[in-house]
């Protein structure tokens, strides 16, 4: 009896103890989250960062603002903003320190934004003329032109804050110092293989720290990343449309998370006046090219069903998406041939399109569609990494690029439409209507006010057909079912890795 009683007492005591322990464990940061990115790390200096690889930065650095999963902008290191004309006043938190002990204040923001502007790599900051401290915790930005996306930009890499002391470190690209919930652990990281982040003991918002450790693995090979995910070596991985991404979606125990975002694949007619290829000056020819493309087949075959047909730069769910355009330019080769004949090109014409190796399957498919209506598209393969630069020259009458869906639409005119736009090398001025809509879209911070202008702009662009959109991709992330169903795993638009703040593995 005594033994039975002591066992009951012991079991009771253990259950209380364990219960208490579980309660503590649930709140204390625990576990390791392993994420694999598809690009290798180049730099941990946000001001010099280009292209992919944002997941390597986000555990360490915080931005002035943040993009919530439902694409709202909220303050992070800022407390608010007020914009009047070309002046943007931002107020800052007064309880934040960088992980090296340096205070976060107006001077730190000025030092960061000034350096980023001088380096000139972060394109959104090209709209900044100056930034000055107006108090210990407030700054004033002066814009050189209206920039409705400035706050959105400051919620991304352009708004990431580096410790002012670390800005002088020539090896900042390997010794990042920010205000974020996690610290870069150089000792445990292995160059070229994995980056390890451990908890920042002096973080200003400890409730947001749910993990003990984050590992970001550098895995550019699609098969290796798929195998690592399938065997539990990683919890989550970034994907572009590929057979391996399709495999993730079909594997038991794995989920392919599809979010709005990604890239819209686009043909850009550069020689809009027809100086080199006279046919390009005729709108009917450009429209014929758009009708000649079987977008659904393209999405299903070339992009493995992981993209959707597109006739505008953004996909369904985006704040500026124009639902009225759905169904425009349905595949219709007969109509395409008729338009070509009407324009006087019944016998077709030929032009040269550049292609990088990874786009060859795309350009070859397009060449096939165009050949079907009598247009010969010769493909010239060019070196990887040179497509964007060559597309800024008059080397080719047309090109093919992707539009990053999360780019603010105010950048569309400066990239493609204005006479001085990056991808308008023949310097053709846009129509008055497009100019008017571009100005309207950029004249406000409120997305609801901006959306009608862009929706109308997409209609005009579709009609003029200089920009022939083909498919819109999605932001693809592969994860184990358990991780995919974890309610604390949420994403910010445009970023492959989850939002680390508040992410806990025991949910």
């Amino acid at each position: 009896m005594n033994k039975w009683l002591s066992n009951v007492v012991l079991a009771f005591a253990l259950s209380i103890g364990l219960g208490a322990g579980s309660a503590i464990a649930a709140d204390a940061p625990s576990g390791t989250f392993k994420f694999a990115d598809l690009v290798k790390l180049v730099t941990l200096d946000p001001h010099k960062h280009t292209g992919g690889g944002i997941p390597y930065l986000t555990p360490v650095y915080e931005s002035l603002f943040q993009r919530t999963p439902d694409d709202q902008i909220k303050p992070r290191l800022a407390t608010g903003f007020d914009a009047t004309g070309l002046k943007v006043n931002i107020t800052l938190r007064n309880d934040v320190r960088f992980s090296d002990g340096e205070p976060f204040n107006a001077d730190a923001v000025v030092a960061n934004l000034t350096r980023a502007m001088e380096l000139g790599v972060q394109r959104p900051l090209s709209a900044l003329e100056s930034v000055v401290a107006t108090g210990e915790y407030s700054v004033e930005i002066t814009l050189s032109r209206p920039s409705p996306s400035i706050i959105v930009s400051l919620a991304g890499i352009a708004g990431m804050m580096v410790s002012p002391k670390a800005l002088d470190d020539p090896a900042l690209d390997r010794n990042p110092v920010g205000t974020g919930p996690y610290l870069y652990n150089a000792d445990q990281s292995r160059e070229g293989e994995v980056r390890v982040y451990t908890i920042n003991g002096s973080y200003w918002d400890p409730d947001a720290q749910g993990l003990e450790r984050i590992e970001i693995w550098e895995m550019p090979d699609n098969t290796a990343r798929l195998n690592a995910l399938s065997t539990g070596q990683i919890d989550m991985g970034a994907w572009l449309s590929s057979p391996q991404a399709l495999q993730v979606s079909k594997s038991d125990g794995l989920t392919l998370i599809r979010r709005p975002g990604g890239f819209t694949y686009t043909i850009i007619i550069l020689d809009k006046d027809g100086g080199v290829i006279p046919a390009f000056a005729d709108k009917r020819v450009r429209q014929a090219m758009s009708y000649a493309i079987d977008r659904q087949a393209f999405a299903d075959v070339i992009q493995f069903g992981l993209a959707t047909p597109a006739v505008q730069p953004v996909g369904a769910g985006h704040w500026a998406y124009n639902a009225d355009l759905a169904g425009k330019y349905e595949y219709n080769p007969d109509k395409a041939r008729k338009l070509l004949a009407d324009a006087g090109y019944a016998d077709g014409f030929s032009f040269t399109m550049p292609s990088i190796a990874v786009f060859l399957s795309r350009t070859e498919a397009l060449a096939g569609f165009f050949a079907d209506i009598g247009i010969t598209m010769n493909i010239e393969t060019i070196e990887p990494g040179t497509l964007a630069r060559r597309s800024r020259t008059t080397d080719f009458p047309a090109t093919n690029l992707v539009w990053v869906i999360n780019t603010d639409l105010s950048n569309l005119p400066s990239l493609y439409l204005e006479p001085g736009a990056a991808f308008n090398p023949f310097k053709v001025a846009p129509s008055a209507k497009l100019n008017e809509l571009a100005a309207k879209g950029a004249a406000n911070f409120d997305l609801e006010m901006r959306a009608p202008a862009y929706r109308e702009m997409f209609e005009v662009i579709a009609d003029e057909a200089f920009l022939i959109y083909i498919t819109s991709g999605q932001q693809l992330v592969g994860a184990s079912d358990k991780i995919a169903n974890n309610p604390t795993v949420v994403f910010s638009p445009g970023v492959f890795s989850p939002i680390w703040h508040g992410l806990r593995l025991n949910r």
Binding site: G120, P220, Q233
Partner: protein, 314 residues
């Protein structure tokens, strides 16, 4: 012997010099531009010029080479174009990984290839011989990266016997090292074993027909003694030649197989460097690889001396 080693190591200096000229020339001829990648798709022409200037890319090729050579002669191989990582540090970090993979693969190639070749030679025309020939033909026909993908899918993803990706250094955990190296080494080593098997078989068949082997057998020596004491050593001379060549091939193959298994070796570094046109990094990788190949040739010559006294240096 020491003289041979000294001579070879001295000869390495002009060879590396020549190779550095060739590498620099080839990188200068490449049509792409690393600055495009540094500034990104939206970079301006001002940024482009600024960064070209900073990296010294506006200098004539000869000037750039002379600056690089001057620093390299003092042991400074420079830093990557893209970040502050020192070329020497990056290469040396990955060198043991690739070396480890290459030698594990070579070991598999020797055990499987030479073993199968000898067995086939001892039973010419038998099913063992035919099986070895079939294996050797398949081994040479199947690309090692494809074989790696199949091995990973079956033994790592399905059976979970081995990790699908990554590499654990031997110093960290010998067991985990063995687990992490097995599949990539098999992928590499089995295809190399095919060439060794064919060479070992034909060499062994030839040696076994020699008069001195018949004489040894006539003297009543055991089959084991005849094979291992008298035949094997002579049969190994051409095999060593093929092995030296195969190790060089393995080194090249490792570059691809490392990708499949996400191993952070010289291959992964080389592919990233070539894609980015990170010229200082490419130079560092090529020079170290050439040095490895020269050392392998030296070891081959020393092995000749062991196997054949006539080939020993005076």
């Amino acid at each position: 012997m020491l003289r041979l080693v000294g001579q070879r190591l001295l000869a390495l200096v002009p060879l590396l010099f020549l190779v550095s000229i060739l590498t620099f020339s080839f990188t200068a001829l490449l049509p792409g531009d690393p600055v495009d990648l540094i500034i990104g798709d939206e970079g301006t022409s001002e940024q482009y010029e600024m960064i070209r200037e900073r990296l010294g890319l506006n200098e004539p090729v000869l000037t750039r080479y002379a600056i690089w050579l001057g620093k390299a002669a003092r042991g400074d191989f420079g830093t990557s174009f893209f970040n502050s990582v020192e070329v020497w540090d990056a290469v040396m970090l990955r060198f043991p990984v690739t070396l480890s993979l290459t030698f594990a693969a070579a070991l598999i190639a020797i055990i499987v290839g030479v073993g199968a070749g000898i067995l086939a030679a001892l039973h010419p025309g038998s099913w063992i011989d035919r099986l070895a020939t079939l294996g050797a033909t398949l081994g040479q026909a199947i690309p090692n990266f494809w074989f790696g993908i199949v091995l990973a899918a079956f033994f790592a993803v399905n059976l979970r016997w081995f990790p699908a990706t990554g590499y654990v250094p031997l110093s960290e955990s010998p067991i985990e090292w063995l687990r992490s190296i097995t599949l990539p080494a098999l992928a590499l080593g089995l295809s190399a074993s095919a060439a060794l098997a064919r060479q070992a078989r034909s060499a062994m068949v030839g040696v076994l027909q020699q008069d001195y082997i018949q004489a040894a057998r006539a003297q009543g020596l055991s089959a084991r003694r005849v094979i291992f004491k008298h035949a094997l050593k002579n049969a190994m001379i051409p095999v060593v030649t093929v092995l030296a060549f195969q190790i060089n091939v393995l080194l090249g193959g490792a570059l691809i197989v490392e990708q499949v298994f996400s191993i952070n070796g010289l291959g992964s570094l080389a592919i990233a460097a070539v894609r980015q046109q990170d010229i200082p990094m490419i130079q560092g990788i090529v020079l170290v690889t050439v040095a490895i190949v020269v050392v392998i040739q030296l070891l081959t010559d020393l092995a000749y001396g062991y196997l054949n006294p006539k080939a020993r240096p005076a």
